[in-house]
């Protein structure tokens, strides 16, 4: 009995030690970031010391310097619209993939999924030219198209796997009752996919919010910029002021942290659905 207790104790301790090691490895860089952002000058105090005085002025400087609010609004609008469209369009496409037979279905599916493998820089010039041609360059609408298109592959991939596993009996029952395919989609399948949809909404939110390259290419005036682009521009303006750069990074990260704090459960569920099915 004694031996068992000792073994359990040793086991528990080792677990905690390992968990803490990983915690430090994961978390210390973030502490470092926060610490640096509060220093007046990056090298004024040693690595292990707290800043001489907490330079909240760094944060004040960032928030005061202009269009941060505009960037936030732009990002929110773009991301909300994009995510809404991604989820809607993907669910529709996945529904067709799983419920309706047609020739070339497999090929079409592979076509969508292979989008995961396209390197983003290959698309820059054609997308830029196209965006210009239809006259939406430098507006928030310019980004919605690419954001939706880029996230369709993964979302369709996952939703298809999920819908596949839903019992078909409900569909058949509804069909017998005279429900149209669209009705089945709206009333039966979609509600059943709720957990996956909520999760994918979160996942796509994170992808779209942090996206940078398309924002750089398709937007130029400050009024249309998104938050990541704004951060990078701030970084470009404040260059060698390392503390200020860290502050900027912190400010950029904060929205995600806030969203995460509120919707912890959903976010974690969102992440897990990437691999669960299939």
């Amino acid at each position: 009995m004694r031996e068992y207790v000792v073994r359990k104790y040793v086991w528990t301790c080792s677990l905690i030690v390992i968990a803490i090691v990983w915690l430090v490895f994961t978390g210390y860089p973030l502490i470092f970031l926060a610490q640096g952002s509060l220093k007046e000058r990056f090298f004024e105090s040693g690595i292990w010391e707290l800043p001489k005085h907490f330079a909240f002025s760094n944060y004040a400087k960032i928030f005061a310097s202009g269009l941060l609010y505009r960037y936030f609004i732009n990002s929110i609008m773009i991301v909300f619209i994009s995510v809404f469209l991604i989820v809607l369009l993907s669910s529709m496409a996945s529904y067709i993939f799983t419920r309706i037979q047609f020739p070339g279905k497999r090929l079409l599916f592979i076509l969508f999924v292979s989008g995961l493998m396209i390197p983003i820089h290959s698309t820059l010039i054609p997308v830029y030219i196209f965006t210009n041609k239809i006259g939406i360059y430098d507006t928030i609408w310019a980004l919605i198209g690419p954001y939706v298109a880029w996230n369709l592959p993964l979302t369709i991939f996952i939703l298809t796997a999920f819908m596949q596993d839903l019992p078909k009996e409900l569909d058949d029952a509804a069909a017998i009752d005279g429900c149209s395919p669209i009705g089945i989609y709206w009333r039966i399948v979609l509600p059943l996919c709720k957990p996956a949809i909520v999760a994918l909404t979160m996942l796509n939110f994170i992808f779209c919010w942090n996206e940078f390259l398309y924002a750089l290419i398709l937007v130029s005036s400050p009024e249309s910029r998104t938050v990541p682009l704004g951060i990078y521009t701030y970084q470009g303006q404040f260059w060698g002021n390392i503390s200020l750069v860290m502050t900027v990074v912190m400010v950029g990260v904060l929205p995600m942290l806030v969203v995460y704090a509120f919707l912890k459960k959903q976010v974690i569920r969102g992440m897990t659905f990437t691999g669960l099915k299939g």
Partner: protein, 298 residues
């Protein structure tokens, strides 16, 4: 055509078209465009010069491309054999019965995932600074000054450093994936096995592993494909240097296009990248005997 069939046809077209349209405009068209460009020499300004397959001939003998391909594969392999298993390990850690404070650990562990690649790159650039960064100062403080390195400045450590950062950011993703998968494994299987006298290790090997196999394969596929086209993180930290120690196919493509003004050759690299990612993805799945669409073993 019966009315049901017609309804299905209409629904099918209605539902598929929007996705197809947007996808085609932004994703499908660029790939053939890149292929088209790969047969030309173009600096982005003057008219294109047709060079037929000479870009492709060039890429076959290009030692820098080979290096970038190798580097990309290193990272892919590291992701498969380091990131994913590490994620699994942490997931197992978190479901272990005797661990306290799981929620706290899990919360912090997930945070790196929420950051954008650019933010992570900037953060770690300073973290790894040879003089002011935490890593070297830590080694100094604990009495291991000889282990200090200019992590991002030395060709022998740069790729390793990049891999560590990549693991830092994405291992939590796999932790979550496996966490969910593990929670779906029916408890009664373990209970039955324990009654039959199975040790923890045997439980793990014969129950856990087989049941999360599908997930493991999907996870490694995503890791592999994603790491092949990695760009953001490396670019912010090293720009593919020093001296191409961390050159990946994506960074090489970028440089050829925007620094050397070789849009044609850059497009060639892009197409090659796509082809390789695609090929490796299919190969890996075939290897694991797994069918994507039907979600079962082939």
């Amino acid at each position: 055509m019966t009315s049901i069939k017609r309804a299905k046809l209409i629904t099918g077209i209605l539902f598929m078209t929007p996705s197809l349209v947007i996808y085609s405009l932004y994703m499908i068209i660029p790939v053939p465009y890149a292929l088209y460009l790969s047969f030309f020499r173009w600096n982005g300004i003057s008219p294109k010069i047709l060079v037929e397959i000479s870009n492709w001939g060039r890429i076959l003998v290009d030692s820098v491309f080979r290096k970038s391909l190798l580097n990309s594969i290193y990272i892919g392999v590291a992701c498969i054999f380091l990131q994913v298993p590490l994620g699994l390990f942490i997931a197992l850690l978190l479901v272990a019965k005797h661990l306290k404070g799981k929620k706290v650990f899990q919360t912090v562990y997930v945070i790196p995932l929420l950051l954008s690649a650019v933010a992570v790159g900037i953060l770690w650039k300073f973290y790894l600074d040879p003089t002011f960064g935490v890593v070297n100062n830590f080694l100094l403080t604990v009495g291991l000054p000889n282990l200090r390195r200019p992590w991002l400045g030395d060709t022998s450590t740069a790729l390793f450093a990049v891999i560590v950062v990549e693991v830092w950011q994405f291992a939590p993703l796999y932790m979550l994936i496996f966490g969910a998968a593990l929670s779906e494994v029916p408890q009664h299987l373990y209970e039955a096995a324990v009654i039959d006298g199975a040790s923890s290790l045997e439980c793990f090997w014969h129950i856990t592993i087989p049941l999360i196999r599908g997930v493991y394969i999907t996870a490694t596929t995503i890791a592999l494909v994603g790491s092949i086209k990695m760009f953001d993180l490396v670019w912010v930290m090293t720009e593919g240097g020093p001296s191409r120690a961390t050159e990946l196919m994506a960074t090489y493509m970028y440089k050829q296009t925007f620094h050397r003004l070789e849009f044609g050759y850059g497009a060639t690299i892009g197409v090659a990248l796509f082809g390789i990612a695609f090929g490796l993805g299919i190969l890996w799945l075939r290897l694991m005997k797994h069918s994507v669409l039907s979600g079962q073993k082939v």
